[in-house]
Symmetry: C2
Subunit: 424 residues, 2 copies
């Protein structure tokens, strides 16, 4: 069973909005045992919609479309699909009732332009979008192979939470019922402290011995490397695939176990949460150049309050003194971007918030603010622990977002290393 | 001149990594006057690469490809392109020298697997990737139209900062030289306080009177609405297009000026920065449920230190007391998620950091932690200003990320409204 995802929208096409829908939708499909063969972004243009849809239906039995369902003139997806399926629009009473309910809950009058959103092609199954005004449309086309289920085309709104709600509650369950989906199992192994090519050399015999049902991929990310094992098989082979994955993982440890820091963790912040919870340790943050990114990464995950007490974003020298107790003389003598300052920041927040561990950052993220001695990209990080404080100098380039991201990754890698070391 | 972007990588296709490359690349192309007609994500699969490339070359003169150039077995883009162009691989000395330089700078030995990265097809122009080990490849194919420049296929690494560096320094300038690119001008107008359909009704006569060179799009985002005007014309029409855009914007103000809060601002945090700088006011943040997201959004933008002093992430009751001065009795009597607490948080951080304005958030982002009186999604926000403190109760659902994002947008909208009101 294969799917194509088509995300429609000029704002996506010209890059003004990052397309997060494709990855969310793909994750949900993969989790349901449906392969994604292609994701496409096209503009609000009838010819492009028709071309993409025809092409997708040649290769795939499932085509999921988002976007272009708003009430304004530039949204043409519904009309285009109606023509594509040689159908006509009618006012769907259930869709209209949903729109009226949403408008009256917000205290607005329904305008004619909003009422048009309740019109859908006669040939589709209207699926109610309970969190938004644009209805979802499910079309079926007879398969060219006799005895096979009909191909499915679904049109959903492009607003991410409306799409996610529809996918979770309606579309994925309906697809699973409509098609007999196969099994896919993914397993991630997180590795630190070894480069991709060195690891590839090291584990080559293991990789060559993997069963043909398992595929290996290297996903390098800043500060770590993710190995992804994907096992695919028939509807009734889940137990076999799981056993093959388990055996492959078990066989990897004697070869590369010293570099493995976690399993089934997607990101470095997840590794931090896992490590802090495992050791029942609390954490505080003191951020200058990362400006809240460390805190945000931790608190984006549910359950952060189990180990994270909070932190200070000290974006001025005064705040470093007032909220963290960095000494005025230290800032005068060594500057805000210095080993002395970053140590006092980490120790200050650890003490003030009564945390087991604390991390701190101070640096020049750029693009301006550098000096000959401390060019843009100069960053100090520190980890304060029950056994003392460690500081480290990092040197990055003049790309602000990259410097912030890499600083966060370096802080987390250092913290995880120290927590693991000190609790051995 | 039209371009297709093809991002290759199983990790993108199955949604484990959000594809940010497509939007970055599209922005750069649009800025150079090159239309993007489609962006596609496909897996590390030779047939899919061949199909996408053939199809793209039928519609577009430019095909930009990222990904699949790593040193491991799952990366097959280079070999596939070499076969597509009926060429053969050879070791490029300049690419090899670059790889050796990077390895020796990192203190690593060059392995045979890394040396293979220096091999490129004979028929391409190798473009040195000075920040990474995978060389960039530029292929040309004679156009089917006589007198037209050759079509161009470029293969770049998928690592975002390597791609961006290559695009900025090499690919975009080369494309501009190779093709005679037309002009595209984008203009954004930020609107608050009116729904999309109401605005659409209001400005319909203005929209219908726009010249045919200008296209209008509505880009709804949480808490605001962006109107995008796009003017397109020939290479020598830039002045005319700019004049048409200027006149269209001027004509919009008498109709909808009361809702316009900024021009050429992409996001709400940019609107906050613009508003604070315009009024020479300083800002501090006190965050519980947003967990640093407010701080992170501001400091992601260069120049934040001009108005942002810093803040406190108070993720526990103790931190709310210790770092913000929230009264112990208040927390006992009303709880952390209450009007009383959020007011003390905003006032506490404003006073401690000596800021003109301060914002605060406290709530239950979920998915757990709710009670019958305060269900998941209950959020209090406050703005403390020189004229007093305003607090507001918000009610969201049980989606953590959405609650955090919407809380941030609500805080910023409230702050901008109050700053504009109080400085009138």
């Amino acid at each position: 069973m294969k799917a194509t995802i088509i995300n429609i929208g000029d704002e996506l096409l010209i890059g003004q909005v990052v397309n997060t829908n494709a990855s969310r939708m793909a994750q949900m499909l993969v989790g349901a045992g449906i392969d994604v063969c292609c994701t496409e972004v096209i503009g609000d243009n009838a010819d492009d919609i028709n071309d993409s849809l025809s092409r997708a239906l040649k290769n795939c039995q499932i085509v999921l479309i988002t976007g272009g369902l708003g009430p304004t003139k530039d949204d043409i997806t519904k009309k285009t699909l109606c023509n594509y399926f040689h159908s006509e629009l009618y006012e769907n009473p259930e869709a209209l009732a949903n729109i009226q309910r949403i408008f009256s809950a917000r205290g607005y009058e329904l305008t004619p332009i909003n009422r048009q959103q309740a019109w859908v092609p006669r040939c589709c199954t209207m699926i109610n979008n309970v969190v938004g005004t644009a209805p979802c449309m499910w079309f079926e086309l007879p398969s060219e192979q006799p005895g096979q289920p009909a191909s499915v085309v679904v049109s959903m709104p492009g607003v991410p939470f409306e799409m996610v709600n529809l996918m979770e509650t309606e579309i994925v369950p309906r697809l699973q019922r409509h098609f007999c989906t196969g099994q896919i199992i993914n397993k991630n192994i997180l590795v630190q402290g070894i480069g991709e090519s060195f690891l590839s050399d090291l584990i080559e015999p293991w990789e060559l011995a993997l069963p043909s049902t398992i595929r290996l991929a290297y996903l390098p990310q800043s500060g770590m490397l993710k190995l992804r094992l994907t096992a695919r098989g028939g509807h009734d082979e889940r137990a076999l695939l799981q056993q093959q994955i388990d055996e492959a993982v078990k066989a990897l440890y004697p070869i590369a176990g010293q570099y493995i820091v976690g399993e089934d963790l997607e990101t470095i912040p997840e590794l931090v949460a896992y490590t802090m919870k495992r050791h029942h340790a609390t954490l505080a943050t003191a951020e200058s150049c990362t400006g809240g990114a460390l805190a945000q990464q931790l608190t984006a995950m549910a359950g952060a309050s189990e180990y994270y007490l909070g932190g200070v974003v000290a974006y001025s020298n005064e705040t470093k003194e007032r909220a963290l107790g960095v000494k005025h003389e230290t800032l005068l003598a060594h500057g805000a971007v210095s080993e002395e300052t970053v140590r006092q920041m980490a120790e200050g927040v650890r003490e003030r918030l009564h945390a087991d561990y604390a991390v701190a950052t101070t640096g020049i993220a750029g693009p301006t603010g550098g000096t000959p001695e401390k060019p843009v990209g100069t960053v100090w990080i520190a980890v304060a622990s029950p056994q003392g404080t460690t500081a480290k100098l990092l040197k990055f380039g003049d790309r602000r977002a990259q410097t912030i991201e890499r600083t966060c990754n370096a802080v987390w890698a250092e913290l995880v290393r120290i927590v693991n070391d000190e609790t051995k």
